[in-house]
């Protein structure tokens, strides 16, 4: 089998080059044949890059698992890992069965798709692009789902969590996703038609995840002992910062698939996206460190780690449409924002053990806005307006639906 398979590409090339080979014999290679072959090779490269990127994004699941385990208490480690594992498993299956169709299926209304459930767009022998594209989108959906586990850590019943992750990956995420990205495949959402800029998903993936997390954290209420009777915040330190740091490095790595991979094509654009992603993360990390130092007169590892993630989340939307210099600025601002966001949510007694709401929700919103402000092609009131519309819609949709869901389960 393997043998045969191994040959297929050869076969392909042979067929494509048939004229040439023939020509090898009797000079009849055709220009057209070459042109076809070139397209075939480029498309092979697109497949490889898209799927390698998907693998990197998948690995972010491990990153989230480590960050959340490290930032919470030992006694809950197993529970959290179980959730991180299962939300990816459930997410994959439900996104395959339902989510993908709603997000990228043919749509008349622009509100949700109605075809392509269970990957029905693919038929053996047919064009496998839908599979590569699904794979890349599936790991995105799972990312949105797993973001939430962090904010709800240490106090969620396992069963309800299973239900929740099924709902997010089959309804909440895909429907909004369709509004902004549906046009990448068979769909076509109303938001993208207005020119909403969200290249790799600061809003679509991160803010949505963050706002769902917010709803969850509110409905669940804080962990016992997080706030003293007299209303003071009591820190519940994470038990394993090495794991948390490892997790952040893994996430950073994954982002090199998340952002550049969103071209879903092997081309030169990925270079700038790589650089922007890395610079924003670095700037976010440094600024968060400085801010927390100015604020607390201590270097706070937790905050610095969150700062790096804040920078990554922020640059996710503008990474393909701003200069490296702008990326440094965007990341730096995110690094400052995240520190105050964490303090703010603590102040208003919303208990978010890993800072997921601040990192993904708030900085995702900032990133989406920044994509309008720093747009390489210049900005305008209209552009900014559309960005704000998108940010607002994401909040309204994700928070409301999630709030209802958590109340029900």
């Amino acid at each position: 089998m393997k043998k045969i398979l191994r040959k297929i590409p050869l076969l392909a090339v042979i067929l494509l080059l048939f004229p040439l080979l023939a020509w090898g014999a009797d000079e009849t290679a055709s220009i057209a044949g070459n042109a076809e072959a070139i397209k075939a090779v480029q498309s092979n490269a697109d497949y490889v890059w898209t799927l390698v990127a998907a693998a990197l994004v998948f690995f972010m699941q491990a990153g989230f698992a480590m960050v959340e385990t490290g930032f919470t208490r030992a006694k809950n480690a197993v529970n959290i890992l179980m959730k991180n594992l299962m939300d990816f498993a459930m997410g994959s299956i439900f996104y395959w069965a339902i989510g993908f169709g709603l997000m990228f299926g043919v749509t008349t209304t622009g509100w949700f798709g109605t075809s392509g459930f269970f990957l029905s767009d693919f038929s053996p022998g047919g064009d496998p692009w839908v599979l590569a594209f699904w794979m890349f989108q599936a790991v995105f959906a799972a990312t949105a789902a797993t973001i939430v586990s962090g904010a709800m850590a240490e106090r969620t019943k396992f069963i309800s969590y299973l239900i929740y992750s099924a709902v997010v990956s089959s309804l909440i995420y895909p429907i909004f996703g369709g509004w902004a990205w549906g046009g990448l495949f068979h769909g076509g959402g109303w938001l993208e038609k207005l020119g909403f800029i969200d290249f790799a998903g600061s809003t679509v993936v991160h803010s949505v995840g963050g706002w769902v997390a917010l709803a969850g954290a509110i409905v669940l209420g804080p962990r016992i002992g997080k706030y003293t009777k007299d209303g003071k915040v009591r820190a519940i330190p994470g038990h394993n910062l090495p794991l948390a740091a490892l997790g952040v490095f893994i996430l950073w790595l994954g982002w090199f698939g998340f952002n550049p991979g969103s071209t879903t094509a092997a081309n030169k654009d990925i270079a700038m996206i790589f650089v922007n992603t890395n610079l924003a993360a670095a700037a976010g990390c440094i600024l968060a460190m400085v801010t927390s130092w100015l604020r607390f007169k201590k270097f706070d590892v937790g905050m610095s780690l969150n700062g790096a993630l804040a920078g990554l989340v922020a640059i996710t939307s503008p990474c393909a449409s701003v200069t490296p210099l702008s990326s440094v600025i965007i990341g730096a601002i995110a690094g400052v924002i995240v520190v105050f966001a964490v303090l703010f949510f603590d102040m208003i007694k919303i208990d978010d053990p890993v800072g997921a709401i601040s990192v993904h929700g708030v900085c995702g919103a900032w990133g989406t806005l920044s994509a309008g402000i720093f747009n390489i092609g210049g900005t305008s009131v209209k552009i900014i307006g559309v960005q704000l519309l998108g940010i607002g819609t994401a909040f309204a949709w994700a928070f409301t639906t999630a709030f209802v869901m958590f109340k029900l389960i």
Binding site: R234, A235, P237, G238, S292, R295, K298, D300, G302, D346
Partner: protein, 112 residues
Amino acid sequence: MKKIEAIIKPFKLEEVKEGLAGLGISGMTVSEVKGFGRQKGHSEIYRGAEYTVDFVPKIKVEIVVEGSMVDKVIGVILAQAKTGQIGDGKVFVRPIENAYRIRTGEEGRKAI
């Protein structure tokens, strides 16, 4: 026979041990404890929230010796474990009625 129980600062263990060895003390039992006293713990920052660790890590050393040795042992501990800083710890003396060596079943002073 008496049991001497000393609560000391962890990094002083080596010195105390060597001091006791000097007296020919053949054995002791050590455990990690958390101390609470005049010496207050320190405060930490964790993701923006401050919290105080009010227990201080200490080492508890238990030594059973014959009455005759008690003062020597206490003397050594007081000398070796001392830094002069708050939190140096305590030494408690208490009676032991009997001791046995499990390996041989020997009883009393022969056991220690």
